[in-house]
């Protein structure tokens, strides 16, 4: 898991430009699924055939970034955000483009730190003028944080743990999956950070019986954090609600029971802001019962996102247990009751 997660974290793949990360994930899945393909929105879909319940598991492979909007005469690059990027976090960061070009984030002179906004920031890629800059970067190119993933005790710090951590959990679960008749669609979704877009079209396409998202969640265990119960190292988080979805009560109950039965440490998550792929999946077509397994993550949307590897491992165990659940048990979740 460690090595895999480091590799995924460091790979380039902002929303809408997920080609590289898709290639890396495809490589990891060779031999562990019956079919693998890319759809029209760029989602990577790995299929494990089966005859029982059709389960879609989504982990988004895109990450936040910055997009170049203007290159000035002196070769400085103006940009705006792709997904939730804070100007305060960006300040002083190093970013990297798909072709390897690296830039540092500079700021216009300001009087008051409250004035910091994306409009006051720019990228400096070391070009002496516009012409030279345009040899490396074009308007519309997207850069991501340039950051090596490192270990700190049993924890990992790096960029894009949101949601490469979810991708790693899903890849491992597929690799280690036991016997099951369920048909499993592992979907590595695109454009989650800009509005759950890949999950929406892929779930429409696949029309599964059950949807599950694997994503990170924010925590309440840091100084002056929001008052929420989720803590790093306390196990996989079973989502109850966020701004995009209220987990299906039966899926929440099944996940809880599986965690209890298999001695998997878990915690309940109620997230007041933010959403995840399950938000799009559960509203697809006539409605798809959906839930979420989250990995607790500190400092979300910064280059220093921190997760606990034990949480990731527990999320993976819980996911496997869910995927291996007998058909009869899963059927109770998605069968419509005629009364």
């Amino acid at each position: 898991m460690k090595k895999l997660l480091k590799k995924l974290s460091e790979t380039y793949g902002p929303s809408g430009r997920e080609d590289r990360i898709r290639d890396v994930i495809t490589g990891e899945l060779q031999g562990f699924c019956d079919e693998i393909f890319t759809d029209k929105m760029g989602n990577l879909i790995a299929v494990k055939k089966g005859t029982a319940a059709k389960i879609m598991v989504a982990a988004h492979m895109d990450e936040i970034g910055v997009i170049v909007t203007y290159i000035d005469k002196k070769g400085f690059l103006r940009f705006s955000n792709v997904g939730g990027v804070s100007p305060y976090i960006l300040l002083g960061q190093r970013v990297r483009f798909e072709n390897g070009t690296v830039g540092t984030v500079g700021m216009e002179k300001i009087k008051d730190s409250k004035e910091i906004s994306l409009e006051k920031l720019y990228l400096d890629i070391g070009a002496k003028d516009r012409e030279e800059a345009e040899r490396f970067v074009k308007v519309g190119d997207i850069a991501v944080y340039d950051r090596e993933a490192v270990f700190a005790n049993n924890r990992m710090i790096g960029k894009a743990m949101d949601d490469r951590c979810g991708c790693a959990v899903l890849i491992r679960a597929l690799q280690e999956l036991g016997q099951t008749d369920n048909e499993i669609y592992a979907v590595f979704t695109t454009q989650e950070e800009v509005g759950l877009r890949g999950a929406r079209t892929s779930s429409y396409h696949l029309n599964p019986d059950i949807g599950l998202a694997i994503d990170v969640t924010t925590v309440g265990d840091t100084p002056k954090a929001e008052k929420m119960a989720v803590a790093l190292g306390k196990g996989a988080a079973i989502k109850v609600k966020d701004a995009s979805v209220i987990s299906h009560p039966k899926i929440k109950a099944l996940l809880t029971e599986l965690a209890e039965r298999n001695d998997i440490p878990y915690q309940f998550e109620v997230l007041t802001a933010g959403g995840t792929d399950a938000g799009a999946i559960h509203l697809t077509r006539e409605g798809i019962p959906s839930g979420v397994i989250s990995v607790p993550c500190r400092y979300v949307h910064t280059p220093g996102e921190m997760i606990d590897l034990a949480d990731a491992a527990n999320a993976c165990r819980l996911l496997k247990a869910f995927l291996e659940t007998p058909h009869s048990e899963l059927q109770q979740i998605y069968s419509c009751s005629a009364l």
């Binding site: 119960a229 609600k241 109620v270 006539e286 019962p289």
Partner: protein, 351 residues
């Protein structure tokens, strides 16, 4: 069952978004008396089907959401006090000092604590309670709280419906149990009428958290016409009269981009023909009701919106006039009875 009795019962029942089953039970029990078929879909929408008498039957969806706003536990603090977040839009100023029910492993009562004025400074009292400082007190030792309550458990404001002077009634969750009562009233009226069209009366889920139930219900039913029944703001001092409707003067029929012009016109025509008191409501964009989702389902659905005027929306003392519910029910029943093939065919004809 009498509409007032039904409304009182469903107003008092629990049904916070995503967890509508308690109120759904009551609705199913009563509505089934009028149904040819009934089903519950995967998200929990309750669909009551009433077959029309024609050969070539048009399909009409009438939706009212049965979910209500509420609270959800986010953390159990030392001492057993509960922190919470809102499910749906709640003005936190209205919940201080309320009695609540926490749905843990068992139902337990609690209080939304408020510091006594004696120990607050005048400066503190001049501002609302900071939302992050609010908590629920169960008056139980921490260990007991932890045994009974988990993060993610729901909390509902405890409130009996109050019958007021005349035809007025106040209580929690009238938004949109009033609409569900309209469905019942419509079904009752319809039993006396002939109608060729099929009716799908749906009590939808999760409207308060983003109009979710209507999205999937409409996709599944594929109606020719979809009408949402919801509540709208009643007139009161300090609010621009042009943005509100009057209590007791009949349902508000919406017009605007969210509404198919012919459906809006037909509702108005029916109201006039049968002397049903009604008012007009101008909706300049997608409304904050199930109509928003219904209209853009699949290839597009001809949509209408009928609302019951109501004061103090999203509080536990939502107030309305029962006569408006009956009038709305009658309006919809006559509308359903009037729909025929010709009317439906013209809905796609913009000449």
């Amino acid at each position: 069952m009498d509409v007032e009795k039904f409304l009182t019962a469903i107003s008092e029942a629990a049904g916070i978004s995503g967890y509508e089953f308690p109120v759904a039970q009551l609705i199913k029990a009563e509505m089934s008396k009028h149904a040819d078929e009934m089903r519950e879909d995967t998200l929990g929408n309750v669909v009551i089907y009433k077959r029309g008498g024609g050969e070539d039957r048009q399909r009409i969806l009438i939706a009212a959401h049965m979910d209500e706003i509420g609270l959800m536990v986010t953390k159990i603090e030392r001492g057993g006090f509960l922190r919470f977040t809102t499910v749906g839009g709640i003005d936190l100023r209205t919940i201080v000092g309320q009695e609540v029910i926490v749905f843990g492993k068992e139902k337990i009562p609690g209080i939304l604590g408020a510091k006594a004025p004696h120990i607050t400074s005048s400066e503190e009292r001049s501002k609302p309670y900071p939302s992050e400082d609010l908590y629920i007190d169960l008056a139980l030792p921490e260990d007991d709280v932890k045994r009974i309550v988990s993060v993610g458990d729901l909390v509902m404001i405890s409130r009996k419906a109050v019958k007021l002077h005349g035809k007025r009634i106040a209580g929690k969750a009238m938004d949109d149990r009033a609409g569900v009562a309209v469905l019942l009233s419509c079904l009752q009226e319809l039993s006396r009428l002939e109608h060729t069209a099929d009716l799908y009366a749906v009590a939808t889920v999760q409207e308060e958290v983003g109009i979710r139930g209507a999205t999937t219900a409409t996709y599944g039913i594929v109606p020719d016409i979809g009408i949402a029944v919801d509540v709208t703001h009643g007139e009161m001092p300090g609010v621009d009269e042009h943005r509100t409707s009057c209590l007791g003067k009949g349902p508000a029929i919406a017009v605007g981009p969210n509404i198919h012009p012919r459906v809006g016109q037909e509702l108005i025509r029916i109201a006039k023909e049968y002397n049903i008191p009604h008012q007009l409501e101008a909706a300049p964009g997608p409304t904050g009701t199930d109509a928003r989702a219904i209209q853009v389902s699949r290839d597009g659905i001809a949509t209408g919106l009928v609302s019951v005027p109501l004061r103090y929306m999203h509080t536990s003392v939502e107030l309305l006039d029962l006569e408006d519910i009956k009038m709305a029910g009658r309006l919809l029943a006559y509308f359903v009875a009037a729909v025929n093939r010709e009317f439906v065919e013209e809905l796609k004809c913009y000449c």
